[in-house]
Symmetry: C2
Subunit: 147 residues, 2 copies
DNA sequence: GTAATTGCAAATCATTTGCTTCGTA
DNA sequence: TACGAAGCAAATGATTTGCAATTAC
């Protein structure tokens, strides 16, 4: 069994534990999120080959909402018309660079310097269950070239 | 002249430099952004006393777009239905904590540890004009209490 | 005076909801 | 079989756009 398949079945287990039923639409969403390293937009989910035509958008939105409530995926706030989601794997925090021109998202291979600040923020503000999101924005080499 | 008025007239100067005409709607938007420490949602702009009734939403959206293109304001990606904007004052970088329950946004009083990473990211990825956005999310004390 | 900006109405796009039918547990 | 999930259609909300009237420079 490949690493990916393994993760997928583990994700399905987590859904089961949360009382969700395992349906075709759910498997498709998780499989797609699992196949990408970076965040995925709702739009690209809806347009993806496995989903478009076979699942209703309302179904996808409902599933994403439920997955988020159950802590299996996380919404992340990139500047785009369409919301982005990513698997919420503990200890797998990643940061991104986003091209303000074409919207391209790259995953950064670096140690995140902010993790240790979460406790500090929590202590200073009284907020609970604090996590963070860090994004870099700029113009990607392709777009810069095109100018 | 107060600090705030001073900043406002400076903002209007920047707009003039960018070739924008100084209209009532523009002044209202900048004045409101200037009066807040944290980010402002489009919704709250539209609902604000000075604007609602006297300016058309389309006008506000168009101005915000133009202000962003001209680098006078920045869009920031908090998780909410409505987009957030903030004045783009150089050297005035701020980070935030957002309550996932009520949406309350607090400005953090701390030195941001990420600024120095921007150059590194730029070097590693080839992206240009890199800046960053850092947000913390959690449950604010009020909401935690309400549970 | 003239080109940019506004207001209004209509169009678009993302997301949500109601309700009936379907399929997993 | 029963209850959660899916599909479909209609509602909502945010944002965009076309165009004629207005206004800053």
């Amino acid at each position: 069994m490949s690493k990916r398949e393994d993760t997928l079945s583990h994700l399905l287990d987590r859904c089961r534990e949360e009382g969700m039923r395992i349906t075709a639409a759910l498997e498709k969403i998780l499989s797609l999120l699992n196949s990408k390293e970076g965040p995925v937009t709702v739009k690209s989910l809806l347009k993806s080959k496995n989903i478009e035509g076979s699942c209703d958008p309302a179904t996808i939105y409902r599933l994403l909402q439920k997955l988020e409530e159950n802590g299996i995926i996380r919404k992340i706030g990139l500047h785009d018309r369409s919301t982005h989601f990513i698997l919420n794997e503990s200890g797998q925090h990643r940061d991104y660079v986003v091209c303000l021109d074409c919207g391209d998202v790259e995953v950064l291979e670096m140690t995140c310097p902010v993790e240790e600040l979460e406790n500090k923020v929590s202590k200073n503000t009284g907020f609970q269950d604090v996590y963070h999101e860090l994004q870099f924005y700029g113009i990607c080499p392709e777009c810069a070239k095109g100018k």
